[in-house]
């Protein structure tokens, strides 16, 4: 069962890699066929990702949210789910050229944290685990999408400024739409990001006897939240649009990644069992 799950996860890794290549190829050569292959590979990757999660759940006899590897699988799954949903609703799969490379790189990073299935350690035996991790998947998933959209915006803008007409301008949504979508994604994510911190704090009160200890994980989650708080204020009160807003969206997601992965690797604290 363990070997099978690893195979599923590796297949997802390969599928996401190939899907990234086909997606980017589609943007460069504008071949309709490449685009279709990219979608098919993404769906295959999503299916094997689902199978990997399912087999892990069956094997562990619990929801696979206990360490970096398990959460990573769930996060990438959520990210691809968001992408497929948006792409389907929007009938524009060009976002894939930006989301799939992110999914591929993250899958690679998370597979390096691979661990055999182990029962839950005492600190994680709580009902808060489920809600805490689900809010993380939703918030981080939506923010990953906002990051990919912001990169699309910056790329397209660069092309337009250079006066280049081509694949990018014909396939990518307009700058105005991208700007709005980035904003929508962040608006969608921030309440969940808040819930993520709040559920973590309440849980910490029951598990460690303090809802806030300035543990590196807590502190970095606050920093991430502050960055998005600044984005929201800049947008509403200071009229940030376009490049400036996009840059904040990019910085925001980089802090998300640091909070999520960097802290566990570089700044071990109370939360370090998640590694």
């Amino acid at each position: 069962m363990g070997a099978l799950e690893k195979e599923f996860f590796n297949s997802a890794f390969v599928s996401y890699f190939l899907a990234s290549c086909f997606n980017i190829g589609h943007l460069i050569w504008l071949k309709e066929k490449l685009g279709r292959w990219a979608i098919a590979l993404t769906v295959i990757g999503f299916v094997v990702n689902t199978l990997a999660l399912t087999s892990r759940t069956l094997q562990a006899g619990r929801i696979p949210f206990a360490n970096m590897y398990e959460f990573g699988m769930a996060f990438v799954w959520g990210l691809i789910f968001f992408y497929l949903y948006i792409a389907y609703r929007y009938k524009n799969y060009s976002l894939g050229a930006f989301v799939l490379p992110v999914a591929f790189v993250l899958t690679g990073i998370f597979s390096s944290f691979y661990q055999e299935v182990r029962p839950l350690m005492p600190a994680l035996k709580s009902n808060w685990l489920l809600i805490h991790v689900i809010t993380a998947v939703i918030a981080y998933g939506a923010l990953a999408i906002s990051f990919a959209l912001a990169i699309m915006y910056l790329w397209r803008q660069r092309m337009e400024e250079a006066g280049e007409q081509g694949a990018v301008t014909s396939l990518l949504p307009s700058l105005a739409i991208l700007d709005t979508l980035v904003n929508r994604c962040i608006h969608f994510a921030v309440p969940f990001l808040t819930l993520l911190i709040v559920t973590g704090a309440v849980w910490a009160e029951y598990a460690w006897g303090s809802y806030w200890r300035w543990d590196p994980k807590e502190t970095w989650s606050l920093i991430t939240w502050l960055i998005y708080a600044m984005y929201l204020h800049g947008r509403v009160a200071l009229g940030w649009r376009g490049k400036k807003a996009m840059n904040w969206a990019v910085i925001g997601f980089i802090t998300v990644l640091f909070t999520f992965i960097g802290v566990n690797v570089l700044l071990p604290g109370l939360h370090s069992y998640a590694l």
């Binding site: 929007y90 035996k125 006897g209 502050l226």
Partner: protein, 329 residues
């Protein structure tokens, strides 16, 4: 200066005051404060708290106070704008107001808890009592006693730890006590005092004696926690080994370097090097490390959390997420 001039002077002062207030409470200043807070928090995660605890420094607290003040003024402005305009029927501006109010409430709750609460870690050996009373902790009503009946570690089938459990009996004068299991994620809450399972180990009663057997020093140590002696020496019990004759493995340090080591059965003394005294481990008892805590700010903080979550959903989910997508299609 005649009366006219005084009035003019006063109005200019007032004007200036409002000008300054306007600048101080402007969005740009608020943004700068948020940026400073994020920056200071970042620096704090890099510096080790043993060297410098940035989060409890005066500067950091001042920054938090300023942000709290700015947020409060901002929320008051929002409230005024809400009441003066016809927007009060909409949910979104109330959401924004709720978020700002919630932040102030959370900070106030944390402050209140810090000032009127307490938090202390104790090592309670099995079979021993610990009294919680007003002399030790503020805000305690009737005193009561914790009695550790037993401490156990439970394992899964594969040998990993499933739970650390303290069986604690609460004894309250004039009343029948009750026993409860305290484990990680399941604190015991009694009369507003929470008791958490925090750590565990062996309490090792240790004596340092001279060659004639006279006790020079005595302390209750645990595995990895040593006793400092005169002459830059230290005795460190490394490990308790159970069995028919329980023994303590120990290391003696001199000037920060390993000097001697050995194993001593409980109750018998051992010389630690030439022309030195003796070490004797009297008894070893398992203990449970408990965190005893009272935080009267919690209800306010929890309410703030609820308000914060509600406020965000109300203010940011005002429009359908997909409307823009549909429109574009």
């Amino acid at each position: 200066m005649n009366e006219q001039d005084v009035i003019v002077q006063q109005t200019t002062y007032r004007k200036r005051f409002f000008q300054v207030l306007h600048i101080v409470t402007s969005m740009k200043v608020a943004m700068a404060l948020l940026m400073l807070l994020a920056g200071a928090a970042m620096i704090g995660t890099v510096i080790s708290p043993q060297r410098y605890d940035i989060y409890h420094s005066i500067g950091f607290r001042l920054l938090l106070t300023l942000i709290c003040g700015s947020t409060f003024i901002c929320s008051m402005k929002q409230l005024a704008a809400l009441c003066l305009s016809n927007k009060w029927r909409h949910l979104a501006p109330w959401g924004t107001f709720a978020v700002h109010t919630a932040i102030v409430l959370i900070v106030l709750g944390a402050l209140y808890g810090n000032v009127y609460g307490f938090s202390e870690e104790i090592n309670l050996p099995v079979g021993k009592d610990y009294e919680i009373n007003q002399e030790k902790y503020r805000g305690i009503g009737e005193p009561f006693t914790l009695h550790l009946e037993n401490f156990e570690t439970q394992y899964y089938a594969d040998g990993t730890v499933s739970d650390w459990i303290s069986h604690i009996r609460i004894e309250h004068s004039g009343q029948n006590g009750f026993t409860q299991e305290v484990k990680v994620n399941h604190p015991l809450i009694y009369q507003g005092v929470s008791i958490y399972q925090s750590s565990f180990g062996m309490a090792i009663q240790t004596q340092y004696l001279d060659a004639a057997g006279k006790v020079l020093q005595e302390a209750s140590l645990s595995e990895g926690r040593g006793m400092v002696l005169e002459g830059d020496m230290m005795i460190l019990p490394v490990r308790y080994v159970g069995g028919l004759t329980p023994q303590i493995m120990y290391i003696v340090y001199k000037g920060g370097r390993e000097y001697d080591w050995g194993a001593a059965p409980l109750g018998s003394s051992r010389f630690i090097g030439p022309q030195m005294g003796m070490v004797k481990f009297i008894e070893a008892q398992p203990f449970s490390g408990l965190l005893i805590k009272r935080d009267p700010g919690i209800p306010l903080v929890w309410f703030g959390f609820l308000l914060l979550a509600f406020g965000f959903f109300a203010s940011l989910y005002k429009k359908q997420f997909w409307r823009v997508i549909k429109k574009d299609r």
